[in-house]
Symmetry: C2
Subunit: 311 residues, 2 copies
């Protein structure tokens, strides 16, 4: 893979930024990666483990002469960090982000950027439940979708270049409208996360079932929920606050359906339950056929492994 940018500035040094730096190096996509974090501790760790080529103390320094700037901060911090870097951006630079919500991020970032800078919002659909500067790995984006939501007037060359960069990091790239992105993610990610958090919270609250029982007997379904519910609290708080409309819409649909199933249980309507449970199998088959999961029966098993190094 050949070099696509000269200098990439990563603002924030968590899971996604760290993985981007390692994926950039793996494929030789930039001459230099520069990174920064508000936290002195995070910056020290990043230096210690050589996470990026150069760590700067401020975001303003990091973006100097960068032709790609990637905002890797929680969605709630996008506006503040944009104001900080705006005066220091190079003419012709591309600014992108990795936020899980797109309409709100555009509203926070776009108004503060100078003319001559290309703003191409993005979202890699890749993550783990781990966070922080030590959590990154080069394979994070491999075979995962990254969605770009450029405004209609965006320079097509800048979009093509950013697409090539993400593909160089291993990702499959799609372009989408921001509002549609937010709705799709409310279904496939945001609402499932809220539900998982809720279920784990209920288990933790229940006095008659002890935490140790929940932990010991978590094999059969709940374990997957706890994995989801271990994700970064700040990131997810910001997701729900900034994708409020779509999340509340999907939550409304969810509770409506849940009440219908609850009524079927209460009234003993086995046919309704069986029909519903049969229908949901088809979606699973589609996901496996699309290569987004394996068919290996690891559900409930100890010893799941990802391919690649990450431990």
């Amino acid at each position: 893979m050949s070099q696509i940018y000269t200098r990439i500035a990563l603002i924030g040094l968590g899971l996604v930024a760290g993985s981007l730096s390692l994926a950039t190096r793996r494929a030789g996509l930039a001459a230099e990666t520069v990174g920064t974090s508000r936290s002195p501790e995070t910056r020290a760790i990043a230096r210690e483990i050589n996470l990026v080529d150069r760590v700067t103390d401020t975001a303003a320094e990091a973006v100097k002469d960068a032709d790609l700037v990637v905002l890797c901060v929680p969605v709630g911090a996008m506006e503040a960090v944009t104001k900080e870097i705006a005066p220091h951006l190079a003419e012709g630079a591309t600014v992108t982000d990795v936020g899980s919500v797109k309409r709100d991020v555009i509203a926070q970032v776009a108004p503060h950027l100078p003319k001559g800078v290309h703003f191409i919002p993005g979202h890699p659909l890749a993550g783990t439940e781990h966070s922080g500067p030590r959590s990154g790995f080069a394979e994070l984006f491999d075979n995962r979708y990254t969605i770009l939501t450029p405004p209609p007037e965006t320079d097509p060359d800048a979009v093509a270049r950013l697409r090539a960069y993400w593909e160089g990091c291993g990702a499959l790239v799609e372009v989408m409208e921001p509002d549609h992105h937010d709705l799709v993610l409310a279904v496939t990610s945001h609402t499932p996360h809220l539900i998982a958090y809720t279920m784990v919270g209920v288990a933790d609250d229940l006095r008659r079932v002890t935490d140790s029982e929940v932990i010991k007997y978590s094999a059969a379904g709940f374990r997957d929920f706890t994995r989801i519910a271990a994700s970064d609290p700040t990131m997810w708080r910001d997701v729900f606050l900034t994708n409020k409309d779509a999340t509340l819409e999907i939550l409304g649909r969810f509770t409506e359906e849940l009440f219908a199933l609850q009524r079927a249980i209460r009234t003993g309507d086995g046919a309704h339950l069986h029909d519903y449970f049969t229908r949901t199998r088809a979606i699973r088959r589609g996901i496996i056929e699309a290569g987004q999961d394996t068919d290996a029966p690891d559900f409930g098993r100890v010893g799941q492994r990802k391919e690649g190094p990450g431990e």
Copy 2:
């Protein structure tokens, strides 16, 4: 491992029965395993792949001279199968089951068993989303809990023998009251399954997000739900119909908590969300420390693998 039973009869030849037969052979726990299924097709497959030592056409034949009989049929079929085998059970035999619900199974099975037979209800907390005679593998129970719920008057030697058998199959064994079992499982398994089924159903219904989008962008949370929601519909229908009280209780708690989080999103109460999401991380750590899952960051990754052969 030495032989614990002379002849084990497996009634039903699905995932759990097949895995039991293979685990029994692996450790030499019985001189012979006999199996049967109502379905001629299932019996033919079991013969073809040598799943048990001998396949019989009827449950009555299967239990003849067996010193252990394991009911591996859906919870809703327990009473019918018990009536069928009861006249043919050997004096001193142990009858157990693998149903996900215990109070209801006891009510179905116990009244029909002859004197001189030990009834020790059981439930291995192990499964995959696959079902049928080809889905079994010897490692299914390794390091997983099997819960036994013997009535207080049960012969302790019969319980000890069944415990030794399950341990020989790789399981960790615990004894519990049936009602407590049903409540614990409502929290750790039954309600999470219902929620996952519901969320996948909502995604499938939503007209503005296509099924192909749900499938493509399922990386981030939803994918785990689809795996859960691919489980056997008949088994799960029966679970909800027979563990109605505990499931409805936990569902009530769940919707209460969900409404509180929904209100926090609507009113923009970020502190409430952040506190809630922080608390749920602790449970996850407990599960990993208890050895019931790994800490590998495979969440959202292609290429999950279980240890052992199963494909």
